[in-house]
Amino acid sequence: MVKRVLITLWLLACVPTLSSGAQPTELEEQVRVIAADLRCPVCQNLSAADSPSELAQQMRAIIKSQLEEGKTPDQVRAFFVSKYGEWVLLSPTKSGFSLLVWVLPYLALAGGLIFVVFVIRRWARAKPNNQSKDLSPDLLQRIQKDLRADKAWDSKADIEGPHGPLFRERARLYTELRDLEFDYQAGRISKTDYEELRRGYEEQASVVLKELDTISPATLAEPAPESEPMGQTVTNPTSAGSRRTWIFPAIATFLLIFGVTLGVLLSNSLRTRTSTDDSITGDFLTGTSSQGDPSGSTVGAQDLPSLLAQGRGAFERQEWPKAIDAFKRILAMDANQPEANSYMGLILADAGHADSALTAFDRALSINPNYPLALLGSGMVLYRQKGDTDGGSQRLKKLLGTLPPGPEKEQLKKTIAEMGKGGDEGEGAVTQAGVPKESVQGAITGTIAMDPKLKSQQSGQGVLFIIARSAGTQGGPPLAVRRFERPAFPFKYSLGQDNTMIPGTQFKGKMVITARLDKDGNPVTRGAGDLTGAYKNNPVDVDSQKQVDIVLDQKTP
């Protein structure tokens, strides 16, 4: 029976789905894009698109309504800036003082690169030649003279001869000396550095010159033996040094790449927690996906249809935590999504939170004033839980106007008619004049007593729930529930047709009757210290038995 009604509800919920379409619209995508640019004022490090906070939800709703009014994305952004200041923009405007934020990183990067280039050049010049040699003034003079001479220092024969490497080394050192001189004159290098480097080069050049002096002119012309590779004929005084100079840039490059990779990986792997059991890392960092489906670090508009289907499925199967999770994720994206709000409202109403349920229904109706499921849900909550018959029937009459002719419409007409009569009787109930409503067909009465052993531990606080479930069912919303605040024991109660949780359900047949004194008043949570009790001879056939007494004799540890 319960299932049939739930399917009916589901069918009702499908009516707007067909007309408005559950596909993520361009509008939703636009809302997401704008919200992603705005900082959530409460959590600060999340955008309004990613933040699950209530304020971020409200901001998304406002963005949506402003876009629907025809404002451009820039106007919407400007609206939030006018309220929270430039602060609210995750990417500040590229003008005025904020321009600095855009320019400074690039300036710093350029400055850093220039610094690195200078340092590397210095390293490359500074030869690790620490053996201080006394330079003979003769050799120094020769070097100075060679440098001043505006001609090639070596003939082609010299370079191609067996001592070519020595000549080439001399040419290289002379070039370095000239460049150094030029850099110094141009002011690119300090005096200390200049002198130190110059001395190093001159020492090396004098070694090469001495070496060249020992070679007789006859050997210069001999061809080089083929077995001797050129680079190894002479101990190159700079080879060890130049190898070392490349280590630093290599390390620097490695560190840079490492840093960038790490930054990209981390920023792609961190996500907001979707539940308390969730972790903030995942995906390609640890390989774990976020809890629940569809998996992924962020829920985008494209996930809406599948999340809705998931939520509806879970609702139908009466898997409440799963359904709540799915609808909550939708509401994190779009706080006013009518279908998710309506279902959340139904779940909240079942759990006894009439006010929260009405808020959810009102959110749905703020987007679509004729949303059938929200009209039905709010109507029933107003009527049954808030005792507002007028408000309730008003909503249901509005719903009646939107329904196509069919069995649902007929059923709804009956319900409204019954509400008009006072609404004590369910469908098919026989009203007997002068008979109190408790003794109408199906209703039961009885006394709830407290086990004397537990009496001392009872503080007089708490909420008493009397619960009837159809025999053979487990989980999901019960058939009927009554709630009494701060009851005095022994407590007389009645439970009947008007306490059923889902409209149209009949209070008849075999059922299991239990009672619970709940400390926090929330029927969904079972906290320590709750007292429970069940009727001794469960299940009860309420059609034949009317008196059901229960003793609260169990304590939740």
Binding site: V42, S53, E54, L55, Q58, F80, K83
Partner: protein, 183 residues
């Protein structure tokens, strides 16, 4: 050497400046601007529009029952209101991010008699850039915001700022007390 020292000192200075600021604090651009208009459904079922209050100094206070600093200031606010009642001043409370029963309990608990309503969808609070409660706006008779205070308020500031609002004096900066970030 001199440049290196300068760069290091500049960076340290920036760091020190950063640490000395409250990263949560959002400076409002609304002071000196016209107060955003709104229509509020009060807890007694009546509706009230800000425009109806033109010609009066409006003390607009955003609060929630779950916010400890709001509870802290509630009694004092009510006693100030009782003493000011004869004058040309209106106290108006806007309850945000709350449930109706909780809000009503709060009003009952502290015996609040000035008008209060609920901002169900958060439109008014976003319009006023509210981020930490209690958050109070002082609006002059012409509908301009003259002062904003984030956090608890006491008699000296309230009386001074009401007086300034009456004279249409716009404060240079906003005030700050102990506050609770909204949700």
């Amino acid at each position: 050497m001199g440049i290196t020292l300068f760069v290091i000192l500049a960076l340290l200075g920036l760091l020190a400046y950063g640490f000395s600021r409250d990263p949560r604090y959002i400076t409002s651009p609304l002071i000196g601007r016209p107060a955003p208009t709104f229509t509020l459904t009060l807890f007694d079922g009546q509706t009230l529009s800000l425009e109806d209050l033109r010609g009066k100094v409006v003390f607009l206070n955003f609060w929630a029952s779950w916010c400890p600093p709001c509870r802290e200031e509630a009694r004092e606010m009510e006693s100030i209101w009782k003493n000011l009642k004869q004058k040309d001043t209106v106290f108006l409370g806007v309850n945000i991010q709350d449930t109706e029963p909780d809000a009503k309990n709060f009003l009952k608990q502290f015996g609040i008699t000035y008008r209060n309503g609920r901002d169900m969808l958060g439109k008014i609070s976003v319009d006023y850039g509210v981020w930490g409660i209690p958050e109070t706006f002082f609006i002059d008779p012409q509908g301009q915001i003259t002062y904003k205070h984030v956090g608890t308020l006491g008699w000296p500031i309230i009386s001074a700022k009401l007086d300034e609002a009456r004279r249409r004096v716009v404060s240079a900066s906003e005030g700050k007390g102990s506050y609770q970030p909204i949700r």
